[in-house]
Amino acid sequence: MSGIEIFQTWVIAFFTLALFSFLYKDNPIYKLAENIFAGLTAGYQVGLIWDTIIIQKLWDPLVQNGEWWMSLPGLLGFLMFSRFFPKISWLSRIPLAVVFAVTAGVQLTTQLHGLVLPQMQSTMLSVGSSDGFVAFLLGVVTIVGVISTLLYFYFSHEHTGALGVTAKIGIWFIMVSFGAHFGYTVMGRVSLLIGRVQFLVEDWLGTFQHIF
């Protein structure tokens, strides 16, 4: 192991332990790591956005490919800085309006087309006797689950009577699903912890024999 590698391992170990220390309580080492972490990620965005967005998406098309219309988003981007000048700060609402409207315009169709229709389609399951008992039961569970969950979100009627019963079934389904999802995720999260502990035990403690 080279000196540089040992140094890197110790740097990583320091910040790993610093963040873990918050589990016990907030402390100066954590505060230091937290502030460095926050600063680095902000700086990281600067490098990434300058290169991949401002240069590759704006400057190159505009200047090298002569796509003149790309000056429009550039102008809208500049209007954002009107926020620094109180008198014309309302101008920054124009790019904001464009941003909100683009999202809304894209989402209105894609939510209905890309999510609602296909999810409805995949719920239209055959529950005939020909496909066997397991398929039948799975079909019934799915259909009842989808419908009762959906009706749980009914706003304009109190959850009483038939709607109340459906919403109650919906809540049971929701609880089963949440429990399953919670239990399922534990494994992935523990794996991540194992990764960090393996680093500390094997790599970091491993440097001790090179140093001492």
């Binding site: 680095l40 087309h113 609602v116 239209m124 304009s156």
Partner: protein
């Protein structure tokens, strides 16, 4: 099936209109009509009943609690950018919450992860304070950009929660793996917590660690509920109508697929998204 054959044929010849998306067009038109009819209905003052949503009533109470305790309200409009509709929902709710904190002059802290959300958040909060006649109480750094990455954001916000002990934490928007990092720390700090997200995979963690959780559609309804304006709330009735329609169509599909061999698959294929 004929619809698809035609669409495929006409596409080869190049038609401007995408015939294969006729199903989506009908869905968009029907949906917009349902929402707008009831919006109009509400505008004309027709009575409109909406059931209570516990998490939403809690928002106003929780801000009140923060005022009594003299501690800040922490609001996180999700950790995604403004190209997600959930973030927009979060920003809208922030506008309502900021009006309440403005009235009571309760300190408000809104950490964000994307600069666009920062700009939108500052605008919304500033306008809410002006609207409430408390323009002087507004500070630019109520909404602040704290980090450029998911886990650095969580580390910073967690530190803030343990040091400042906000009385109320409100999470509204798009959340990912950091949902539980935030909510558990908030719980440990003793804050009242209200969460809302459209992402089913994060809901179990919010439900486990928060006092109230708005699930899926409730998040998008929240802004309308909190506005107390009939125009906004009318649309919810339209959404309900669509839900009933969806349930009927699903059941029709199930019956057709189960009992017919030809009509069922044709009916089902109509919902194909292309």
């Amino acid at each position: 099936m004929t619809l698809f054959a035609e669409a495929a044929f006409s596409q080869e010849e190049f038609s401007v209109f995408r015939g294969d998306r006729i199903n989506a067009l009908i869905a968009v038109v029907a949906f917009s009509a349902a929402v707008l009819i009831f919006t109009n209905w509400a505008k004309r003052g027709k009575p409109l009943y909406l059931r209570k949503i516990a998490g939403l009533d809690a928002v106003e109470e929780a801000v009140g609690r923060a005022t009594e305790m003299g501690r800040p309200v922490l609001f996180i409009p999700g950790i995604d950018d403004l190209d997600q509709i959930e973030t927009i929902a979060g920003i809208s709710i922030l506008g309502r919450v900021a009006q309440i904190t403005a009235q009571y002059e309760t300190p408000l802290m809104v950490p964000v992860r994307y600069p666009l959300v920062l700009a939108a958040g500052q605008e919304v909060v500033q306008q809410a304070y002006i609207h409430a006649g408390k323009g002087d109480a507004y500070e630019k750094d109520m909404v602040r950009y704290v980090a450029g990455e998911q886990f650095a954001f969580a580390a910073t916000v967690n530190g803030y929660m343990m040091r400042e002990h906000p009385a109320t934490n409100i999470y509204m928007g798009a959340f990912f793996a950091e949902s539980l990092l935030l909510a558990e720390t908030g719980n440990a700090a003793g804050s009242i917590q209200i969460a809302g997200t459209g992402r089913p995979e994060q809901l179990p963690f919010f439900v486990a660690a928060c006092d109230y959780t708005l699930m899926g559609e409730e998040l998008f309804a929240a802004s309308a509920y909190l506005s107390h304006e009939p125009v906004m709330m009318g649309g919810l009735k339209g959404q309900d109508l669509m839900k009933v329609l969806i349930v009927i169509l699903i059941l029709a599909g199930v019956i057709l697929v189960t009992f017919t061999t030809k009509l069922g698959p044709i009916f089902k294929s109509w919902f194909q998204a292309v």
